[in-house]
Amino acid sequence: MIRVNDLTVAFGGVKAIDGLSAELDAPVCGLIGPNGAGKTTLVNVLSGLVQPRAGSVTVDGADLLGLKPIERVRFGLRRSFQTEQVVEDLSVWDNVRALLDHVPHARGEAVAQVARALSHTGLLDVATVLGQRLNLFQRRMLEIAKSLVGAPKLLLLDEPGAGLTEQEAGALRRVIGSVHAFCGAQVLLIDHDVDLIAATCTQTLVLDFGRRLALGPTRAVLDDPAVRKAYLGTE
């Protein structure tokens, strides 16, 4: 559960996020809004790359803003990026294994955890392939696999489905939808693909100009006329 309270983020004179308050408790939450609405800024605040000017953020009751970015990873925060950050000269296995290096885990369990994560994302067959030889779909799956090890509490997925085909997007949907059952972590999903959001997220937060435009069950939010006007562009 993510609790954001009166969060304000400013870059110079521009308020990227303005007094945002929200409680996100669904296993998979969506975060949508027009470009420049503050979605990536919010994720950057959560992962620690950006310091807010005011406000607080707690995850499962713990104060997040008091932790340094590396400490947040140890706490259980995982983040994927719009441009995937696969390490080219490590194998798929090592890419995932690298995450366990800095996160507490039971001794001797590393292999099992990595294997489970790769199996869940369908990458077990290519475990020894180097990152540079993966195609886009495999890279996107690898980003998610990396997030599944080391007892994660919250996954921040930033446009994980960009560039995928219909079939691949479907597989992605299934994986995202099953994350909570797999490891108990909550997922916050940013994407422009409304179908993906509608299919996976039970709760959705809509931002516009750094402010909360709507928050609630996904279907209700997507049907909200204010949201349609600002974001989807239909009347």
Binding site: S47, F81, Q85, D101, A115, T121, G122, L124, A171
Partner: protein
Amino acid sequence: MSASILNDAPVQGIAAVPASLAEASRRAHISLAVMVGCVLLIGIAVPWLANAYWIKTLTSSLALSIAAAGVALLYGQLGLVSLCQYALLGAGGWIALRAGHGLGWPFELSVLAGGLLSCAVGMLAGLPALRLKGLYLALVTMMMAGGFQVVINVMGFPDGGAGWLGRVFGSERLMMPRPALALSDAAYFRYVAVWLAAMLALIELHRRTRAGRSWALIRRGEAAAVAAGVNILRYQTWAFGLAGFCAGVAGALLAGGVGQLDGRAFTAGDSVMLFALTVVGGVYHWAGALIAGLLLRAVPALLTDFGVNGYLAMIFFGVALLHALITAPSGIAGQLAGAFDAVRKRFARGGKEAGP
């Protein structure tokens, strides 16, 4: 990629570790053994084939290869340009000479002391520098090398005297005492080869475990590293320390090989040359460090044998560096490894075609 993930629901429950992983692990162990084996083979074979002069020259080459391995680690694994590694080599040599002459320590201890001092100096001096990236690091390390050049020029190296500096003058100058089982030049060559194999293995083991994975993440980018929980400063410092250790050990072994070190021979230019030729040799493969050592000592000696002016070699090295940076980033070792792989694949394919 399993087709099932695209069509079916994801598999739950315990996943079997793929056989390919065990295979990859086996191949990794073999390549490590091959590396150690090659170096030890060189250690055994060369003293039989080379004359006295060349044994001494190649001993220096091997020692410098250790330092080059450290440079390659910093640049190849982390993209860090350190232009002071030869100074750290000098520092290691100084400590080893001081310990050997003044304290009468056993040789191995002197080498370790040299290595550890350079490791510590590398880390301490590197800490503020490591907060800076790229070009500033290169500049700062060059400044440090320049400073060391001035200091060692004045201080000189210990050679049997008393007092802090341990200097003695004229014909009283002593050679560094060698280890008991490596007194002759041939035996000492083999001794250095063992050290080289050990150091290369140390670096390789780092690369294959947590340190190597963290370095790879740092290489990918700060965002990727932070997102994976890597403490960038800690791992960069660790690499700097390991590279310093390599330089210090190399300096001590060099001192043992040539007996005395000259305070005028540790210039900032030597550190630049060490970096340049390590890049030319190849920073991604252990053989690159060996090639670098040869380029630094053996090639100039060869040119002298043929009566070629050493400065022509400098021109050639400059061109080689430019070439390596512009067209062949993996250096000579990388290109050789690529050619080797191509030949191996050709044979494997030939074998398959010949089969049933």
